[in-house]
Symmetry: none
Subunit: 222 residues, 2 copies
DNA sequence: CGTTTCTCTTAAGGTGCCCCTAAGCTGGGG
DNA sequence: CCCCAGCTTAGGGGCACCTTAAGAGAAACG
């Protein structure tokens, strides 16, 4: 599985190359947009990891050029948190997904995996417990086949719980995952979201573990 | 599930040992690279948690030596954020994963779990004595395969006892662990919990040692 | 740009469960 | 036979969690 990594920052690129290699990809690492276009015009990749701020030729320009050729190679965009506009424009131009800096390597590989899988027309793996199903790619949830509308927070929370069935997630752990590393909430927001989830999905799915946190048993809701 | 922890910082090591033990692992804690090599050459571990900055023998050197012997024991590296090069070299040398300092205990246990599972497709670590099994991650207890409902205190108490099978735990020791360093109880609360545990798990599991404390024999309840 | 809708947080009040307490009981050891 | 450590039982209080409601803020709409 061959991947093109386009990143000018030496440190970041180095880390990514190693990490992605570790994850089982063959990684070609280029430092500027010009080189990226050259590579893409002659070679074929399973996916492209594309930084936006590049020398010689901007990342968005590379993306636009790629899509102009009707090349459907999956593209994962790396963008800083304060450049949301770029992200939006990137998605408009045909990016398949984006990751905000500073990012976690696991997140990159996870999204990349999803991207490649999607590109090959293979269905996304869904997380299922009992009659509840969650589709991470579509961000959709069904209960006994019926679609259930969840807000973003609710979805993320449920996602976390379903990824860790049979494991108790402490309140701390959940909050740290939901609220990105800062501005921790000091109220019972988490409880409220849990409450909403139970209301929409039934009371049996999420078990309260007093004094610790929450858990969804793998064999819940008969 | 036996784990080798190699960490020279006393405070950090202490915290890790407690946390990992809490997570259900049997932890051997060594303070320098020399000792780690000694241990690894004679004993077998499910995984190694390895700090890089070590006395006598550097962590990377230990890792290199280990891989040189074609030992595939999973290795989780602890590294400071400003030593990315080391991390990279570590991965090159065959580390399986790394965690940046300062880290979260939950993250360590999560990665460790993934690592061990990856290494030989095994499920969660459990503490087992006779027909009693305790799963720290799920905070669940079974007796002869049947789920047993325990209250938080009961669970914590049982957890402590099972972590120290064949060792007599004094009333003092138990109370200090259960009640976080303050607000000691001056009554027989402990006895009450023991009573409840016996009621739910059978009278043979927990042995009373008159005048000292309690103990669960490793080969209890046939 | 005002209006509307939707989501998330905050806060307050309620409730059920757990845990401590205490007091009487039991049995082993001196 | 007595004493004391541990066992047993029951109840009340407190706290963790639940539930509900409403306001702030952001996104969507015209």
């Amino acid at each position: 599985m061959r991947i093109l990594l386009v990143e000018d920052d030496r440190l970041l690129g180095d880390g990514l190359q190693v990490g992605l290699t570790q994850a089982g990809y063959a990684v070609d690492w280029l430092r500027d947009g010009e080189a990226a276009v050259m590579a893409l015009s002659t070679e074929s990749f399973a996916a492209v990891v594309l930084d936006l701020g590049l020398p010689k030729r901007d990342g968005l320009s590379v993306l636009q050029w790629l899509r102009g050729r009707h090349d459907a190679t999956p593209v994962l965009i790396l963008t800083a948190r304060d450049q949301l506009e770029d992200k939006v424009r990137g998605l408009d131009l045909g990016a398949d997904d984006y990751v905000l800096k500073p990012f976690d390597l696991d997140e990159i590989t996870a999204r990349l995996r999803a991207l490649v899988r999607r590109a090959h027309g293979r269905p996304e793996p869904v997380l299922a417990v009992g009659e509840i199903e969650l589709n991470p790619a579509a961000r959709s949830v069904t209960r006994a086949g019926q679609a259930v509308e969840l807000t973003p927070r609710e979805f993320d929370l449920l996602h976390l719980l379903l990824e860790n069935t049979d494991r108790v997630l402490t309140r701390r752990a959940l909050e740290e995952q939901l609220y990105t590393w800062n501005e921790a909430v000091d109220s019972n927001a988490l409880e409220v979201h849990i409450h909403h989830l139970r209301k929409k999905l039934g009371n049996d799915l999420i078990r309260t573990v007093r004094g610790v946190g929450y858990m969804v048993p793998a064999g819940a809701t008969p």
